[in-house]
Amino acid sequence: MMHNSDEQTSQMTQRDSNPTSSQPINAGRLMSRVLLHLVLGSIALAFIMPLVWMVSTSAKPESQAASGRIALLPDPPSLLPATAADNYSRVWNDSTVQFPLYLRNTLIVASLSVVGMTFSSALVAYGLARIQWRGRGAVFVSVMATMMIPFPVLMAPLYLVFRELGWIGSLKPLWVPAWFGGAFNIFMLRQFFRGIPREIDEAARIDGCSHWGIFWRMILPLSRPALAVVALFHFIYVWNDFLGPLIFLTHRDQYTLALGLQLYQSQSGQTPWNLLMAASTLVVAPLLVLFVLTQRTFVQGGATEGLK
């Protein structure tokens, strides 16, 4: 959708800026166009600047990062590879805050939880979208209602439930609940499944397919884009989650990256800003790479969020 309109816009601009165009560009319009680019350009710059500054700080020696000079590169710039390598290896190999371990934990939680969330949400969504049964409306209402419950409301009693189950001190509180589906994902997949033509079920049923067969062999393969959106957004959710790990994890060697980053900042003694920014860059970079690799899914996700 966005691609189309981009093409349209670029065509229009070409037509507008065509020198042989019969209509001369009027000076006022040109001015307002320049102004628009100036405004959006400065806004775009302001939005990118924090990230640029984060990366820039991460590649400076400590004394320069903390100096009042405004410069993107270390002085002299030839220092860059050496200081960057030094800073990042100091972060990665820190003896008390173990980022390699936190990365491993985050990936364990993320993979278990993404698979569970995607599969279970699809299963429940199928039950709400493609099976006619009494009570389906009530279940759907309960899904919608829980979307409004803020996590802080649940956190204290949830801790007690997990303690009762003996999960405190393990990674389980962070991924097992995902296997029971998530309200928003169920809702989104239900909307998607409802859009798939009914005839598919009928044909499969005549061929002797059960509901499970229809779900597994027809609906899931047809819903790959929607499932990808759920998986991607849930992965990002897990990567970012701070409050869950803060409450449920008790040992440092179970920490996730988000929690580890905060630990790195708050550990005893002042962590220098250049190292803190190197650590932040390490946590942010995988998401930026993921974004570049999955741009199309992102755009679809963004558009479906609007449909809600």
Partner: protein, 295 residues
């Protein structure tokens, strides 16, 4: 078995993950916390029934009142401001004359929404650092001496606002997508009626977008009331807590997991839930005349 009841059984099976999960991880904990909110429960001892004591005590607890005020003030400023800025940015980015720079602007505004809150709070702690932060260095260039953003109480809410507005791209993307679904014919008709770009925005775009705007405002309101990670990292340091940076969910967390007062924390949790429901209801009722649902 009749076909109807068989389908019911299959339906229950398919939805069973949700039925079990929501019971175990939502409805049961909520029922528990409703009960605990009427008890004194210091975690290590069994809960003791105290009636409405917790709810009464809250209002004479200065820290609670401060946390509540901070979050309420922040929400009152942040929700409208974020929405207006997101709509204006979306409208500007939707302008037909941007050409190939459009993609660049969009990506630039969207990228910060990918940054995890913890990292984003960390980066802004550095930018807002009093002596060496970039914000104050830039202010010094024009001869201003910037405040101690994270320590001075008056600047806590503005600093948090800037940090959260950095993530406005999420809403911008949703509004742009919604704007592209508005039929072109409506704009053509408005143009024929002699409307300029501003009136086309207020008279065509806004009404057509109103359901999406309402939904986003509701989600934003729910999320703003429970703000935790960003103020926790920016305003709570080894040197202590900036009182103006203490938010509702942070104090709820403190009561539950630092002071181990599960009863008191549960009362706070139920008040937060009530506040969320009331705010959502207000938004829906207040917008009834403003939202235009087209077929």
């Amino acid at each position: 078995m009749t076909r109807l009841s068989r389908e019911t059984l299959v339906g229950l099976l398919f939805t069973s993950p949700w039925l079990i999960g929501s019971l175990a991880f939502m409805f049961l904990p909520m029922a528990m916390s409703l009960y605990y909110s009427f008890t004194d429960y210091p975690l290590l001892e069994p809960p003791l029934w105290v009636g409405l004591d917790n709810y009464k005590r809250l209002w004479s607890d200065d820290v609670f009142v401060r946390a509540l005020t901070n979050t309420a003030v922040f929400a009152l400023i942040s929700i409208p401001l974020t929405t207006i800025i997101a709509l204006v940015l979306a409208a500007l980015l939707n302008a037909r004359v941007l050409g190939r720079m459009k993609k660049f602007y969009q990506v630039a505004i969207f990228i910060p929404t990918l940054v995890p809150l913890v990292a984003s709070a960390m980066v802004w702690s550095w930018l807002f650092n009093a002596e060496n932060g970039l914000v104050n260095r830039l202010l010094a260039l024009v001869g201003l001496s910037g405040p101690n953003w994270l320590i001075t109480p008056q600047w806590a809410i503005p600093a948090l606002l800037v940090m959260t507005l950095w993530g406005v791209g999420q809403a911008v993307v949703i509004y742009i997508a919604a704007m592209q679904d508005v039929p072109k014919s409506l704009y053509e008709a408005a143009e024929l009626d002699g409307m300029g770009p501003v009136r086309r925005f207020t008279n065509v775009t806004l009404p057509m977008l109103s359901p999406v705007i309402l939904f986003n405002v509701v989600v934003l309101a729910i999320n703003t009331l429970q703000i935790f990670a960003a103020p926790y990292i920016m305003f709570r340091t080894k040197d202590g807590q900036n009182p103006a940076g203490l938010h509702y969910a942070m104090y709820l967390y403190d009561n539950a997991f630092v002071y181990l007062q599960m009863g008191y924390a549960s009362a706070m949790a139920w008040l937060l839930l009530l506040a969320t429901l009331v705010l959502t209801a207000i938004l829906f009722v207040a917008s009834r005349r403003l939202v235009y649902y087209h077929a």
